[in-house]
């Protein structure tokens, strides 16, 4: 009996303690994380053009950045987030634009800024479409990679907004808008569209890069560049993908369709690029591509007979080559033409638009006439080397009906894959061939068409050991 009483007492005491001695340990309530709009007074808000004007004024005064003083009344711009670092393709930056669509009123034109913030996971706070107020006091506007950037005033340069302060500078509004990109032809893209959301319709990845990943190739340093080409007008724009993007090692989309992204400049401010937020921005869903028609001959080929051969070893100048019947012409009116290059006792035909200052380069190198009547089963080979690639801008073409004017001749493209690498240095010679041209007869000419634009498309090419062989 006594034991029972004691037991009861113990149980009672323990229960009492168990009930009264709770430790706050789990079962936490979800905190209220709804965003309350800061209700910024409209008088304290300036538009994006005013920020650009501040920059222009500073430049006119000989400065490199336009600063916003700390001690003035609070000054804000309001904009919408259009970039996301969720996939890692943007890093320590937030792109905002002032419009949710393609409207572009003259009193407040459509513009975008890059806000430089030294923090990761910005998308957790600033999702795409989130309205934000950027408190400009203490910040500065300048140029980085050729586009407008806003960051901390740091003398004559722009410093990053730091992790410990960015939430007090980039203040969230309550609105999350749906951003409609501006649809544009590649050719129409210009500096005013930088840092804004752009959509290119009816485009595809250049056929020569289809085997690549976004940015997971061995020679992709910091960024991978791939060529977007328009099916409508053939215009090209480079797709820039960070080697820190989650999807960098995934294959490029094979089809055709629309792509949207932030239009900006590459790191070296050398050319325009498009940067996607995620692969959802790419809708190349149509399987039928718009690749050019290439010469496709069937049937056997042979090499018993050398029909034509030029290894450029005996031509020390391009004039000597032209004297052999080759045509070297720039049809766009500039000075960029093929020359004879040499390296390590090897001569070759060479072209590069680099440093030409020409925005529109079209240069041709055409072989002398090559007669295929005395042979059968002809095929063609040559070697080429790519250097300092920033676009695939060389085509190999053939015709059996040369008019004497490259622009009026009807050319058929040869099926040659020219890589867009390496972005720096020399890639070494690649052999092309044997390309079957046995279905052609009579007088043919082969042309190398170079379509560049300095500085955005200035890849350097070397061509060597051009040869046509066949059977008797």
């Amino acid at each position: 009996m006594k034991a029972n009483k004691i037991l009861n007492l113990l149980v009672f005491l323990t229960m009492t303690f168990a009930i009264t001695s709770c430790v706050q340990d789990d079962d936490f309530k979800t905190p209220d994380v709804s965003v309350i709009d800061p209700n910024i007074n409209a008088d304290n808000v300036i538009n994006f053009s005013a920020v650009v004007a501040r920059y222009n004024d500073a430049v006119a005064d000989g400065d490199q950045v336009g600063t916003f003083e700390f001690d003035l009344d609070p000054l804000y711009i309001e904009g919408y987030v259009i970039s996301s670092d969720q996939s890692g393709n943007f890093f320590e930056e937030l792109i905002i634009q002032n419009k949710v669509d393609d409207s572009d009123p003259s009193e407040d034109p459509r513009l975008g800024f890059n806000i430089s913030i030294n923090a990761r996971g910005l998308y957790e706070t600033y999702e795409i479409g989130r309205k934000v107020y950027v408190k400009l006091n203490g910040l500065a506007v300048g140029m980085a990679n050729g586009t407008f950037i806003i960051g901390k005033a740091a003398g004559n340069s722009i410093g990053q907004i730091q992790e410990f302060e960015y939430r007090n500078i980039v203040i969230r509004g309550a609105e999350v808008a749906t951003i409609t990109p501006k649809v544009s032809a590649i050719a129409d893209l210009s500096a005013q569209y930088e840092n804004t959301l752009i959509k290119i319709e009816d485009a595809q990845i250049n056929r020569n890069e289809l085997g690549l990943t976004y940015a997971g190739e061995a020679d992709d340093e910091f960024d991978g560049f791939r060529t977007i080409e328009s099916c409508a007008d053939g215009g090209t724009l480079l797709l820039q993908t960070s080697t820190f993007a989650d999807f960098k090692s995934l294959p490029l989309p094979q089809g055709r369709g629309s792509i949207q992204g932030i239009f900006t400049r590459d790191f070296g401010d050398d050319f325009n690029v498009l940067v996607i937020n995620s692969r959802e921005d790419v809708n190349f869903d149509t399987t039928e591509r718009c690749d050019p028609i290439v010469l496709e001959c069937e049937g056997p080929t042979g090499n018993a007979l050398t029909v034509f051969n030029q290894n450029f070893e005996s031509t020390t100048t391009i004039g000597q080559l032209e004297a052999l019947g080759w045509t070297n012409i720039n049809v766009s009116g500039g000075s960029v033409k093929y020359v004879i290059g040499s390296f390590s006792n090897n001569r070759y035909a060479q072209i590069s638009g680099f440093g030409s200052g020409q925005a529109n380069i079209e240069a041709w190198l055409v072989t002398p006439v090559i007669n295929l009547d005395a042979s059968t089963g002809e095929s063609l080979t040559f070697d080429f080397e790519v250097a300092f690639a920033n676009g695939v801008i060389l085509q190999a073409l053939i015709t059996d009906n040369y008019t004497g004017d490259v622009t009026t001749t009807e050319w058929i493209e040869l099926d040659v894959s020219i890589p867009n690498t390496p972005s720096s240095g020399f890639g070494g010679f690649n052999n092309v061939g044997n390309l079957n041209i046995s279905c052609l007869d009579g007088d043919v000419r082969v042309a190398f068409k170079y379509s560049g634009s300095d500085p955005s498309a200035t890849t350097r090419y070397h061509i060597d050991n051009f040869k046509v062989v066949g059977n008797n």
Binding site: L10, V23, D25, F28, T30, A119, E163, F164, E165
Partner: protein
């Protein structure tokens, strides 16, 4: 008060009378039979008149000593000294008694009914309490393991000091951690297969009922098992062995828990042969010494024994002690300098409360059935079946939640840790030396906030979920759910009065389920179960059987596998006791079988993760022997030696069990094998009626050990972020040193104590180091990491580096004063030195000197390198501890309290730390160390400042 004193006086008088009676009885009660000289008797509890088992009875100044049996009886039959002698009767928890007796040749002296008084000061309880709760069981390396639980029941002054005064400094006797000591409960081994260590939390808070312990020290033979080289402790929970009565305890402390309540009742052996004991406890607190280290533990214990007849008893024990603890972080010096030594980066405020992201939860109930069979007065067989099940969980935050975009995951959050190196001032001092305003801003942010921002995590998840995505952040736990059966049978027999023989057979079968489990999605409702670091959509899969699985709270994810272990052990032990010499020999053989079974098919190891892996088996032999030479009763010499092969623990066998079947050594083609332990020690023991002293020298080697560490490496050889396993194989260690302990009862009330431990624990070879990780597809990463999924770094030059793990030198001096009026105080001053940091083995490989092209750095400076690689030695320090208490007897009840203050002088001291593996090469380390505040400085544990513990109890 007056009444109290009166009661006490009466009691004292009564006791004196009894002693006197026994004294007379000793002189006159001479047994009729001539021939053998025999001293026998029994010991009973003065309050309850119940017999007390396991009481040490010694004839002072001789080697004649024994333990009382279950009936409280003992007898000496051989080597009994004649004439006037003093019998010492002692047991933990009781006041030691000295009885004068006269022994006549050829006569039997029977001293039945010697009384022992319960030691109401219960000083030993104080430490048991504070330290076993202090078994931080924090799995982080460096400071977690604690041996005090193993030693606390020792009578030896050295071991008691090591347990009670040194353990808060993570002192390890002989530099050996707790896997070298065997903890048994009723003969069943409680050391875990996973790491070889006992999980003290499994019976935490049950101090009243786990106090009954039998310790064999060092290599001394245990009558239950072969045992580890530090010794064997057997916790006995037989219901009949508890002292009848009840007890209520309340304690308060600022060390780990804030409050503790324990209620215990033992029935003693009731007339019908039944006995039961029940104990219920609760320990709780919002915060211990470190910030936000919550404590929430309950314990329930029940033991029932049925004495079937004189030969058979059956006991059933059940223990359930769920325990939740908030962990605290090791920090860099930079962080401590800014935030103090209580700072913990694992928590943040939510809802106005401190929420700790790293909780350790242990919930492993124990069930045991024990059969005790006394075949004859000389022979007993003890057969036990144990079953333990439940879970251990360690929670943490994940910040790699992703969304599936067109079949491939994108996303991941930022590191939520407030001490992530990119948030601390040192990072900005290094990167923005010209704009220290940034560093200042970071410093202010860290000083003012500097904790996890739970609201931001919720906000990120809520906003991503609103956009149709999954959780970016998740709170999850790494779980180990064990189910373990143990079966054993232990034989004890005496061949004759000189020879005792023990043998046992053990079998244990373990199934250990290991997986990660989502606890809280922090405002989101889904999480994508992929590895966000992998670069293709096969390798990133946690389970190819269920690709791109969406998980929710409570779901298993990331990894899921079972480990199986079967251990069969046989041991035998013979003890020989003679007049001048005692000696023993013992041997055991153990066969250990391990197997892994993958439940998930990991994408990175599709062919090597699912289903059962290959069976591993290890056979280990152990042998030991020892000899005690008794020059006289005062001077004894003791020598022990052992050779032991033991299977590596599960932890040190599978190199990356979360993802694949790989076993240590697979990659470099060096088969895994048993570890070998060799040890020898020699002691001189001095015993007089006033002074007891022992001096020991020891030499221990551990050979062919493995160690695996896991960490996220941010930038191995460049930009690569990967979860890597660092495998050290074939480690040899050398432990040598000396121990000294002395205690002197200078007056009946004052005892002085002194202890010294001087050791040198070093690595004695250069083991192989391999890093393993998921094979990468990324061409840039392949340039650095290769395609095989491992890098062989060859030797790590560890030879002669000190082994981390507590001070290698420790001294203690102290006194105890026990007033006859039932109050007592004690104080000790403890001095610690030669504590070393845990070095990073990767930094000691060729990786340190090698540039990316495989050739040495062209600016490599050998003198500077030597300085950079010098092992950090922590400052020595002294801790002063005070303890005191008082107790009263009111009628049949006892009331008492005691209190202790540790680190009275509030000395700030480092107890341990480890180098960060990030600066793995010469240039990085040189540049980092050249900074005023290194960005990747070592992380440290600091000991507590001044703390208190107060305990009051009521006993009936």
């Amino acid at each position: 008060m007056c009444e109290l004193h009166l009661t006490k006086l009466k009691k004292q008088t009564k006791q004196m009378k009894k002693s006197f009676l026994i004294f007379l009885f000793g002189i006159f009660s001479i047994a009729a039979a001539f021939g053998q000289t025999i001293v026998k008797g029994s010991v009973i509890d003065s309050a309850s008149d119940e017999p007390i088992p396991s009481v040490t009875v010694t004839i002072e100044g001789s080697n004649v000593t024994t333990l009382t049996d279950a009936k409280g009886e003992f007898s000496f039959t051989s080597d009994v000294p004649l004439g006037e002698q003093v019998l010492i009767v002692e047991k933990i928890g009781y006041m030691t008694k000295r009885y004068p007796i006269i022994i006549n040749e050829g006569k039997t002296l029977d001293i039945s009914g010697m009384l022992l008084d319960f030691d109401i000061s219960e000083s030993q309880d104080l430490f048991t309490v504070t330290l076993s709760d202090d078994q931080l069981s924090d799995d982080a390396s460096g400071g977690a393991d604690n041996i005090s639980g193993l030693l606390q029941s020792s009578q030896d002054v050295f071991q008691r000091t090591a347990a009670f005064e040194f353990s808060s400094s993570f002192f390890n006797p002989r530099g050996l951690d707790s896997e070298n000591g065997t903890v048994l409960m009723n003969g069943i081994e409680m050391n875990k297969e996973y790491d070889g260590r006992p999980q003290w939390a499994d019976w935490g808070g049950l101090n009243d009922v786990v106090r009954n312990q039998v310790l064999t020290n060092g290599l001394s033979p245990s009558s239950y098992t072969f045992g580890g080289i530090l010794g064997t402790t057997n916790i006995i929970t037989r219901a009949s062995q508890y002292r009848k009565g009840g007890r209520l305890t309340y304690s308060s402390s600022n060390r780990s828990y804030t409050n503790r309540v324990i209620a215990t009742y033992a029935s003693g052996l009731i007339s019908n042969g039944w006995a039961f004991t029940l104990s219920i406890g609760r320990r709780w607190g919002e915060e211990g010494y470190q910030d936000a280290t919550l404590y929430d533990a309950n314990s329930i214990f029940a033991s029932v024994e049925k004495k079937i007849n004189d030969k058979h008893s059956i006991n059933f024990t059940s223990i359930y002690a769920p325990n939740r603890r908030g962990k605290s972080s090791p920090n860099t010096q930079e962080v401590y300098d800014l935030k103090g030594i209580r700072y913990n980066d694992y928590w943040g405020y939510q809802d106005g409360e401190k929420r700790n992201s790293r909780i350790k939860e242990v919930e492993e109930p124990i069930l045991m059935l024990n059969h005790y069979w006394d075949i004859s007065s000389k022979t007993a067989i003890n057969t036990n079946v144990g079953y333990q099940f439940g879970k251990i969980g360690n929670s943490r935050l994940d910040n790699n939640g992703t969304d599936l975009v067109d079949g491939f995951p994108e996303g991941g959050g930022s590191n939520p840790s407030p001490t992530y190196y990119q948030k601390l001032p040192s990072y900005f001092e290094r990167n923005n030396p010209d704009d220290l305003g940034i560093a200042y801003g970071a410093q202010q942010e860290f000083l003012n906030n500097g904790q996890i921002n739970w609201n931001q995590l919720y906000q990120a998840n809520v906003s991503n979920a609103a956009a149709g995505g999954n959780a970016v952040y998740a709170l999850y736990e790494d779980r180990t759910d064990d189910k373990k059966w143990t079966f054993n049978s232990i034989l004890n027999t005496e061949f004759n009065e000189n020879i005792q023989f023990n043998a046992a057979l053990y079998y244990t079968k373990l199934k250990s389920e290991n997986f990660a489990s989502i606890i809280d999605l922090l405002g989101a409702s889904t999480y994508l179960d992929v590895d966000s670091f992998a670069t293709n959509s096969t390798e990133n899969q946690s389970d190819l059987q269920n690709p791109n699985r969406i998980v929710t709270e409570g779901d298993k994810f990331r990894y899921n596998f079972n480990l199986y272990s079967n251990v069969i052990n046989g041991y035998a032990n013979a003890i020989f006791k003679y007049n001048k010499i005692d000696f023993y020999v013992a041997a055991d053989i153990t066969r250990t079988e391990y197997q892994r079974e993958g439940i998930y098919q990991n994408g990175a190891f599709a062919d090597n993760s699912l289903g059962k892996g290959r069976k591993l088996d290890f056979t280990g032999f152990g042998g030991k022997a020892g000899l005690t030479y008794k020059l006289t009763g005062k001077h004894l010499f003791d020598v022990n030696a052992a050779y032991i092969d033991r299977a590596p623990s599960l932890r040190n066998t599978y190199s990356n069990s979360r993802e694949n079947h790989n076993v240590v050594g697979d990659q470099i083609g060096r088969p895994i094998d048993v570890e070998t332990v060799n040890t020898i020690d020699a002691s001189y023991i001095f015993r007089s009626s006033i002074v007891k002293a022992k001096l020991t020298g020891y030499y221990t080697t551990i050979e062919n050990a493995n160690e695996i560490s896991f960490y996220y490496a941010d930038g191995i050889g460049g930009s690569t972020t990967a979860f890597i396993q660092e495998i050290l194989q074939g480690i040899n260690k050398k432990h040598l040193g000396g121990e000294f302990g002395i205690e002197a009862q200078v007056t009946p009330t004052i005892k002085l104590k002194g202890v010294a431990s001087v050791g040198q624990y070093t690595y004695s070879n250069n083991p192989d180091l391999t890093l393993t990780f998921e094979p990468t597809n990324d061409p840039a990463d392949q340039l650095i990491l290769g395609t095989e999924g491992f890098l062989n770094y060859g030797n790590s030059n560890l030879k002669d580096y000190r082994i981390a793990g507590g001070p290698q030198t420790a001294y203690s001096v102290g006194f105890e004063y026990r007033d006859p009026d039932f109050w007592w105080v004690g104080a000790t001053a403890n001095f610690f030195d030669n504590t070393y940091i845990d070095i990073s083995p990767l930094t000691r490989t060729k990786n340190f000197t090698t540039d990316a092209d495989g050739l040495p750095f062209n600016d490599y400076d050998e003198d500077l390198a030597r300085k950079l690689l010098k092992q950090e030695q922590f400052d020595n320090y002294m801790l002063v501890n005070l303890v005191g208490g008082k107790s009263w007897k009111i009628d049949d009840y006892f009331v008492g309290f005691f209190a202790s203050v540790n680190n009275l002088l509030d000395v700030v001291h480092k107890t341990g730390g480890f180098e960060q593996g990030r600066n793995a090469n010469f240039r990085q380390l040189r540049d980092d160390q050249a900074l005023d505040t290194p960005v990747f400085g070592s992380r440290y544990w600091y000991g507590r400042g001044t703390t208190y513990f107060v305990n009051v109890y009521f006993r009936f």
